[in-house]
C-alpha cells in the first residue's frame, strides 16, 4: 500500500525533526524559530549531491552542484550542511540577547532565506525547486523503485529515527545534558557557575541543525522534489506545536508529538472529504490552522510540560559512599592561598546605569581566609558590587584583580573556573533539575560534561559522576536535606532553596565565594548552622565575601565588615569598631 509507505516515511522524518527540535528547545532552551531552514538546507544539499549535472533531462532546471554522488554521501552531506548552517546563528543566540529577540531573528532569517532561494534561480532552481532527485542506491526516483525497495527505505527511515532517538538520549542523560538543562532553566546562573553559554548554545544549534538536515535528506529522497513552498516558516510552527504537545525535553514525547501533529493531525484531515463543492473551499484548511493556534495556547496554559513531561531523574548514591560525618570536610579547598595574602582587590570600581551611579569609585581589598561581610542600607550598591566582582555585570570603570590576575574583562564563567563563584539574591536554583542535579551541575570537572564526553557513553564518565554524587550526597546530608535530594529544586521552600544555592556554589570548590544574602528567608537556627559552616570553610582556607542585612550575623561571624552607602565604601573594620563610627550609624538611620 503506497499510502502506508508514505505514512511510515513521514513518521520517520517528522520524528527525527522533532527530536532535533526537542533537543534544541526542550533540553537546551534555545528557541529556534528558523528550524525549518536546517531541514531545507539538508534537503537541498542531499538533492544537489545526488542529482546529475543540471544539463541532464533536457536542462530544464538550473542548480549548483549536481555531483551525482552515491549513497550515503548525499545524506552525510545533508547533515553536515545542517550543522554548518547553524554556525552563523551563534551571533544571534550566543550573546546575551533576550531569548525572544533571538527567536525573532531566527524567524526573520527563515523568511529571508526562503525569499533568496526563490528569487535567485541559479542556486536551487528558484521557485520551481529541484526535481527528479534520485533515491539512494537507485538510478531514478523513489516512486519508480520496486515495492520491496520502498518498504526497505521506509523501515530504514524508522531505524534511523530510532538511532537519532538513542543519540539524543545519550546526549541528554549525560552530565553534558544536565548542563544544557541547567542553561535552559537559568542561563545567568549557569554562566556564573562556569558554563560557557556561547559554546553550549552553538553546540545545541549545530546538533539540532545536523539532525534536521538528515530529516531533510530522507524527505527529499522520498519525494524527489524540493521547492521553497515546502519550507515556509509556518512549517516551523507545526513542529513547535508537536514538541510542545508531546512534551518538550522528553524525547519520547517528541516522537509522540510528531505522530500526533505533523502526521496524525495533517493526515486525518485529508480524510475529511474535499469533494463537496458546496462547502467554501478554503474553510477546512483555514480551520486547521486555527486549531493549531488553539492547541498551542491551550497546551501552554493547561499543560505546558506536554503529554509526556520531562522525566525526573533520580540519583541514588552508591551505598558505599554513605558515611556519617561532616560533608564540609570533604570539600577540600582547591588551592588554599597563604593566609594574610590579598586574594581579591578592586580599584576604583564604577558602574553607571544611565545617570545613576550604582557603584561610584569603590576600592577594597579582601584578605584570603577571611569571612568578610558587606553591609549597607537599601540601594547602597552592595548587590551591584557583587555582580561586578563576579562578572555578571560589566564595570563602567576601574579594575579588579583576583590572585594577582587582572580579571576586569574576564567573563563570568571564566571567573568561576578560576575559583571566584557567586550566589544570587533572588531565587536562582535550577527549577526543573532536582536538588542533586543542581549540585552535580556545578562540579567544575566532569569528563561527561562535554559533547565528546557525552557521546563516549556512561562508561567514560561514570567514575567522575559517582565521585561527584558522593560529594554532593555528603553535602546534602550535612545541610539536612537528604529526603529532598531527588525532588525538583523549584518545589522546595524558600529557605531550602537558599540552601541548595549555597551547596551548589560549594560544589564548585571555589577559592573565593561571593554570597548575596544567603541567610534571607532562612530559619535563625539554620542560619546559625550555615554561619558555622562558612566559618569552618574559611578556617580551611576559603575566602568568603558575604552581603547580609542581619547585623547579628555580621557580629557573630564576619571579620572584617565593609560598609557601603550611595555606591561608595564608607568604612571597614569589625562590627564593634563600626558601631562607634558616627557616619556608619547615620547611614543606617538615614538611608
Amino acid at each position: 500500500m503506497y499510502y502506508l509507505i508514505i505514512l511510515m516515511v513521514y513518521t520517520a522524518v517528522d520524528a527525527i525533526a522533532c527530536l532535533g527540535l526537542s533537543q534544541q528547545f526542550g533540553v537546551a532552551g534555545v528557541t529556534n524559530f528558523g528550524f525549518i531552514i536546517f531541514q531545507a538546507a539538508g534537503a537541498y544539499v542531499a538533492a544537489i549531491l545526488a542529482l546529475p549535472n543540471d544539463a541532464a533531462n533536457g536542462g530544464f532546471q538550473t542548480y549548483v552542484g549536481g555531483l551525482h554522488l552515491p549513497f550515503p554521501l548525499p545524506w552525510i552531506g545533508a547533515a553536515v550542511a545542517g550543522g554548518l548552517l547553524a554556525l552563523p546563528f551563534t551571533l544571534l543566540v550566543g550573546r546575551r540577547l533576550r531569548g525572544d529577540f533571538a527567536a525573532i531573528g531566527l524567524l526573520v532569517t527563515a523568511v529571508l532565506l526562503n525569499l533568496l532561494v526563490m528569487n535567485y534561480r541559479p542556486l536551487f532552481n528558484g521557485d520551481a525547486g529541484v526535481s527528479l532527485v534520485p533515491t539512494p542506491l537507485q538510478c531514478g526516483m523513489f516512486v519508480g523503485a520496486q515495492v520491496s525497495y520502498q518498504y526497505g527505505f521506509a523501515i530504514g527511515g524508522l531505524v534511523l529515527a530510532a538511532l537519532v532517538y538513542l543519540f539524543v538520549r545519550r546526549l541528554t542523560q549525560s552530565p553534558y545534558g544536565r548542563t544544557l538543562r541547567a542553561m535552559r532553566d537559568n542561563d545567568k546562573v549557569a554562566d556564573s557557575l562556569g558554563k560557557n553559554l556561547l559554546a553550549l548554545r552553538t553546540g545545541a544549534l549545530v546538533t539540532g541543525g545536523a539532525i534536521a538536515g538528515l530529516s531533510g535528506a530522507i524527505l527529499v529522497s522520498f519525494i524527489g522534489v524540493w521547492s521553497p513552498a515546502a519550507w515556509s516558516y509556518a512549517e516551523t510552527i507545526v513542529l513547535f506545536t508537536a514538541v510542545i504537545i508531546g512534551g518538550a525535553g522528553n524525547h519520547v514525547g517528541a516522537v509522540l508529538g510528531a505522530v500526533l501533529v505533523p502526521v496524525g493531525f495533517e493526515e486525518i484531515t485529508r480524510f475529511i472529504s474535499n469533494s463537496n463543492p458546496s462547502l467554501p473551499p478554503n474553510l477546512l484548511p483555514s480551520l486547521q490552522w486555527v486549531a493549531i493556534g488553539l492547541l498551542i495556547a491551550i497546551f501552554l496554559w493547561a499543560r505546558p510540560q506536554g503529554v509526556l513531561p520531562e522525566r525526573r531523574r533520580v540519583n541514588a548514591p552508591p551505598p558505599a559512599a554513605r558515611q556519617p560525618g561532616d560533608g564540609m570536610a570533604r570539600l577540600a579547598v582547591r588551592r588554599p592561598a597563604g593566609p594574610g595574602a590579598e586574594i581579591l582587590a578592586a580599584i576604583d570600581l564604577r558602574k553607571d546605569f544611565g545617570g545613576l551611579h550604582a557603584v561610584d569609585g569603590v576600592s577594597l581589598s579582601v584578605t584570603a581566609g577571611t569571612l568578610t561581610g558587606l553591609i549597607g542600607p537599601n540601594g547602597a550598591g552592595k548587590s551591584t558590587l557583587l555582580s561586578l566582582l563576579a562578572g555578571t555585570d560589566r564595570a563602567s570603570g576601574g579594575r579588579i584583580s583576583f590572585r594577582g590576575q587582572d580579571i576586569t574583562t574576564l567573563p563570568a564563567y571564566r571567573r568561576a573556573r578560576i575559583g571566584l563563584v557567586r550566589t544570587f539574591q533572588l531565587a536562582s536554583e535550577y527549577k526543573r533539575l532536582t536538588v542533586m542535579e543542581n549540585l552535580l551541575s556545578a562540579v567544575p570537572v566532569n569528563r561527561g560534561d562535554s559533547f565528546i564526553g557525552a557521546m563516549a557513553g556512561r562508561w567514560y564518565w561514570r567514575d567522575d559522576e559517582e565521585h561527584a554524587i558522593a560529594r554532593a550526597t555528603a553535602l546534602i546530608d550535612s545541610f539536612g536535606l537528604t529526603d529532598k535530594a531527588n525532588e525538583y529544586a523549584g518545589d522546595l521552600s524558600g529557605g531550602q532553596r537558599r540552601l541548595v544555592e549555597i551547596m551548589r556554589a560549594l560544589m564548585t570548590a571555589p577559592d573565593m565565594l561571593l554570597l548575596d544574602e544567603p541567610m534571607a528567608g532562612v530559619h535563625p537556627e539554620l542560619a546559625g548552622r550555615i554561619g558555622e559552616a562558612l566559618r569552618e570553610l574559611c578556617r580551611q582556607g576559603m575566602t568568603i565575601l558575604m552581603v547580609e542585612h542581619e547585623l547579628a550575623i555580621m557580629d557573630k561571624f564576619c571579620d572584617p565588615v565593609i560598609v557601603m552607602a550611595d555606591g561608595q565604601v564608607l568604612a571597614q573594620g569589625t562590627m564593634a569598631e563600626l558601631r562607634d563610627r558616627s557616619e556608619v550609624v547615620e547611614a543606617y538611620l538615614v538611608g
Binding site: T31, D100, F101, I104, L112, L115, V290, I292
Partner: protein, 284 residues
C-alpha cells in the same frame, strides 16, 4: 527620486504600525506577533462597513475600533493571564504566534482566500519635486505625520503618557508611585490596538487589493523597523520605519526589485547581532 517618494508612503504606513507595536512591547513587555493579523482584522471590518455603503474614511474609524477591541480582548483573555503566572517572555512569543494563526485564519475561514478592494477613488496624481503621488497617498502621509505628532504629545505632555513611560521603565516602581499599572496597560492596548487598526486600513488602501495573508510579510517589516530603532522606543520606531521604508524602495531601484525585502531583513539581522538595543538605545 521617485523611489524616495514611494519609500515615504511605505514609511508612513509602516510608522503607524511600528509605533503601535513598539508601545505594546514597551508598556506590557509582550512582543505581540499577532499584530499583523489584527491589522488584517481591522482592514476587513472596514471593508465590510465600506461595502455596506459607508465612505472609506468612516470605514477606517470602524476598523480602528474593531482592532482596538480585539487587542484589548487579546490582552485580557490571553496575555495577561500568562504574565500573571510568570511565564517567560519566550512563552509569550509562542502564544502570540498561536494567536496570530487564530486571528488570521478565522478571517480566512469567513472571507475565503480571494482578494478584495475598497470602493474608493485614488484621487489625481501630483508631481512633487521628482516624486509622483496620488491625493490619497498624500492624505495617508499626512495621517501618519499627525499620528506621530499625537504620539509624541501623548508621551511627553499627558499624564497618561508619563504613566506609560513609567510603567515601561519599571513596572514595580511605577506601582509604588501610585500608578495603576493594570489600568495603564489596558488603556495602552486599546490605544495601540486603534493604531493597529489604522495601520491595517491604511495599508489596505495603499495596496489596493488585499486578502487575509497580505500582512504576513509586513509583520517582518514592522519587526525590522522596531528593532532598528530600538525595541520599546516610540521615536526609534518612527526612525526605523523611515529608514526601512525608504531603503527598500530605493534599493529596488538599483538592484533587482524582488530582493527589496531582503535588504530590510538583512538590516534587521545586523541590528540584532551587533546592537540589539537599536539605534536609539533603551526603552523610552
Amino acid at each position: 527620486m521617485a523611489a524616495v517618494g514611494f519609500g515615504l508612503i511605505t514609511s508612513a504606513v509602516l510608522a503607524i504600525a511600528a509605533v503601535g507595536f513598539t508601545l505594546q512591547f514597551a508598556v506590557t513587555d509582550v512582543l505581540n506577533l499577532a499584530f499583523a493579523a489584527v491589522m488584517t482584522a481591522g482592514a476587513f471590518i472596514a471593508y465590510t462597513v465600506n461595502q455596506a455603503g459607508a465612505s472609506i474614511w468612516v470605514a477606517v474609524i470602524a476598523g480602528m475600533a474593531a482592532s482596538s477591541l480585539i487587542s484589548v480582548a487579546l490582552n485580557y483573555v490571553v496575555y495577561s493571564p500568562f504574565q500573571r503566572r510568570g511565564s517567560a517572555p519566550i512563552t509569550l512569543v509562542i502564544v502570540s504566534l498561536g494567536m496570530a494563526l487564530i486571528v488570521e485564519f478565522t478571517i480566512a475561514a469567513i472571507v475565503g482566500g480571494i482578494g478584495v478592494s475598497y470602493t474608493m477613488s485614488q484621487g489625481s496624481t501630483i508631481k512633487v519635486g521628482g516624486m509622483v503621488l496620488t491625493t490619497v497617498q498624500l492624505i495617508i502621509i499626512a495621517i501618519s505625520v499627525i499620528v506621530m505628532a499625537g504620539v509624541y504629545a501623548l508621551l511627553r505632555y499627558t499624564r497618561l503618557g508619563k504613566a506609560m513611560r513609567a510603567t515601561a521603565a519599571n513596572r514595580m516602581l511605577a506601582r509604588n508611585c501610585g500608578i495603576r499599572a493594570t489600568r495603564v496597560i489596558a488603556i495602552t492596548w486599546a490605544l495601540t490596538g486603534a493604531l493597529c487598526g489604522l495601520a491595517g486600513t491604511v495599508f489596505a488602501i495603499d495596496v489596493g487589493s488585499f486578502d487575509p495573508s497580505s500582512t504576513d510579510i509586513f509583520l517582518v517589516l514592522i519587526l525590522a523597523a522596531v528593532f532598528l530603532g530600538g525595541p520599546g522606543n516610540a521615536y526609534g520606531a518612527m526612525l526605523g520605519a523611515l529608514v526601512i521604508g525608504v531603503t527598500t524602495e530605493v534599493s529596488a531601484a538599483y538592484i533587482q526589485p524582488d530582493y527589496k525585502y531582503v535588504v530590510a531583513f538583512v538590516i534587521l539581522l545586523a541590528m540584532l547581532a551587533v546592537r540589539p538595543a537599536g539605534l536609539l538605545g533603551a526603552k523610552a
